[in-house]
Symmetry: C2
Subunit: 142 residues, 2 copies
């Protein structure tokens, strides 16, 4: 057990290689079609999936730093993909909501994501897929 440790099997290394490879390919979609950065796609995807929410909520769910979210929100607003509305009860909070155009972009990218996911999962059987997702979800909680 001690002697069989191969540094090339080091999990953070493997995870990083796999994540880079997967992200690189998918990035072409949102980059070329909508000129989005990764954080923008991430924010769009959270708003599309969970519905209207605040920047703080996105930070918590996406595990992104507030400055990254702030800048992504500004960029998405400039692209007219979302609108802000301050809450009456507490004007520090702003609810972020996708516009029609933002929703269309989300629907398009979500469909593309589904195709892409199916393509990269193709080499694996159902048991492997379940195990893979389960392990990744667990690791993400660290």
């Amino acid at each position: 057990m001690h002697d069989t440790f191969e540094i090339t099997d080091f999990l953070p290394y493997l995870l990083n290689q796999a994540a880079d490879a997967a992200a690189l390919e998918f990035q072409d979609y949102y980059k070329s079609r909508y000129g989005m950065l990764r954080t923008e796609w991430r924010v769009l995807f959270h708003l599309g999936h969970y519905g209207t929410m605040t920047a703080k909520g996105i930070c918590a769910r996406a595990r992104l730093h507030k400055t990254k979210v702030s800048r992504a929100v500004t960029a998405l607003e400039t692209k007219r993909f979302l609108t802000r509305s301050a809450l009456l009860q507490d004007r520090r909070h702003e609810n972020l909501t996708l516009t029609k155009a933002g929703r269309r972009a989300f629907d398009d990218l979500a469909a593309e994501a589904q195709r892409f996911d199916a393509a990269i999962m193709a080499p694996f059987d159902n048991t492997e897929r379940d195990t893979l997702r389960k392990c990744l979800r667990q690791l993400a909680k660290l």
Copy 2:
């Protein structure tokens, strides 16, 4: 199948979350002890594992861009963790070799990596571990 696609199960997203979480924690080791950046640790780890090799070789194996490797090599040289030696046959190539100090750092970090790997793999059984590594290795090839 169509209707059950959950965007939060999107593999690039899960991979990225898991990779970030894993990298973040391990990074404390090489950052605080040796002031290394991630690319530097990656280069050190390749030299420690495969022995003397050229920058080009590291690029190929680590799937890193040559500019990143070039800068990491300079940084590791400044820390006196490696030495360069141009090849007589072709002076464009430089063989990179760890110094004693570089080897010590590698040994230390490799041991730490092994402990860390065991810790994050602890929640999984052997079958899951094998599946996880196998899938990640496959995905990294994309």
